[in-house]
Symmetry: C2
Subunit: 217 residues, 2 copies
């Protein structure tokens, strides 16, 4: 059975990507990163809940304590405020330097070890916060780097099934593949009740609203 590593934060995008991978027939190996993000505890709970729901046991929880050492992002530095006034042009203060580059590099190492042929990542290019490491151009270049820097027999495709979707289409896709959206967590700020006003909450709310579906979270 072909194997895929799936980067699973526990948000609605990565969860949908996981259930798309499952539907495509992959044996799934989810990878979660604790990188000192504000909602680390809540995201890990979402990850565990989703793995349990999908009856997955071969999973990796990877601690990355160094992101708070580098800092310079409101997601990992609590001295910086998470913006709540809506998405603006440019790269927001929640951008974590080269986060997906680091995540994909580690996922590639796990994929090589597990003899997986794909890494799924739920990045969204247009309908998103505007992070440079969510763009298709970056993903393609990262795939080239991974295949050049691993064993000759390791051939990894980075799969981004959501990259050009709008948030409402992701909600519809999630329902189509039976992704348990009610178990996911998107809020950047809080761990108890979603704030509803950070960029991530806004994108999620807009997605559900435009899709005409009720968010049960």
């Amino acid at each position: 059975m072909k194997k895929a590593v799936v980067i699973l934060s526990g948000g609605m995008d990565s969860t949908t990507a996981l259930f798309i991978a499952k539907k495509e027939g992959y044996d799934i190996i989810p990878v979660h990163f604790n990188y000192g993000q504000r909602t680390q505890r809540r995201e890990l709970k979402a990850f565990d809940d989703i793995c349990e729901y999908a009856k997955i046991t071969n999973k990796y929880i990877i601690d990355l304590p160094f992101f708070t050492q580098i800092g310079a992002s409101a997601l990992v530095d609590t001295h910086l405020e998470v913006p709540t006034e809506g998405i603006k042009p440019g790269i927001p203060i929640t951008y974590v330097s080269f986060r997906n580059g680091i995540f994909l590099s580690i996922a590639a190492a796990i994929a090589e070890k597990e003899k997986a042929c794909a890494v799924f990542i739920g990045v969204v290019e247009e309908d998103s916060s505007g992070y440079p490491d969510c763009r298709e151009d970056f993903i393609k270049k990262m795939q080239n780097a991974i295949n050049a820097g691993t064993k000759p027999e390791t051939v990894i495709e980075i799969k981004t099934p959501l990259i050009h979707l709008k948030k409402e289409d992701i909600v519809k896709e999630a329902i189509k593949v039976n992704a348990p959206l009610e178990l996911t967590w998107s809020c950047y700020k809080n761990e108890d009740e979603a704030c509803g006003v950070c960029d991530s909450c806004r994108l999620r709310l807009k997605g559900f609203e435009k899709a005409g579906i009720k968010d049960l979270t």
Copy 2:
């Protein structure tokens, strides 16, 4: 003053790369990785000694506890033996999956934060253990990925001054740039006295011997 992040393991190659960067006029930010390698304690001592020698204070020591979780390499899994019978064709058991991809990704995040324009890495392609993540083709592709996945104003060059050198030429180069080779540590196996028979010791010994220079370590 232009800044460069230098990946510094504390071995002779990365130390030489650092002193080349210094000679080229960069303000140096060394980065060291504790990744659960057998000689972690000794390598960190070499790193600290070299930073002190070079009077560098802005440095990063990054803990990566997950490499031992992934395993599958004799450098991070003590159940596997470090080979001592000499370098053979193919990729050896000491290969750590995509290690330099992971190291360069993290170095890129630090470079972006520090507004550095270069990342130095002391990889050696031909006269080495044959790791796929030490090849120039990989380095170029990784540089493309890093520049695509970071802010538009972030432009990072990955510099590999040793990549096509033979070990003896690295020893000569080290002496030319006043790199303190006596402070470096190369052995894969031991932390007290270098074993002299692992691939890394063999490459080092050959380098000194062919260069006609005495190793003071």
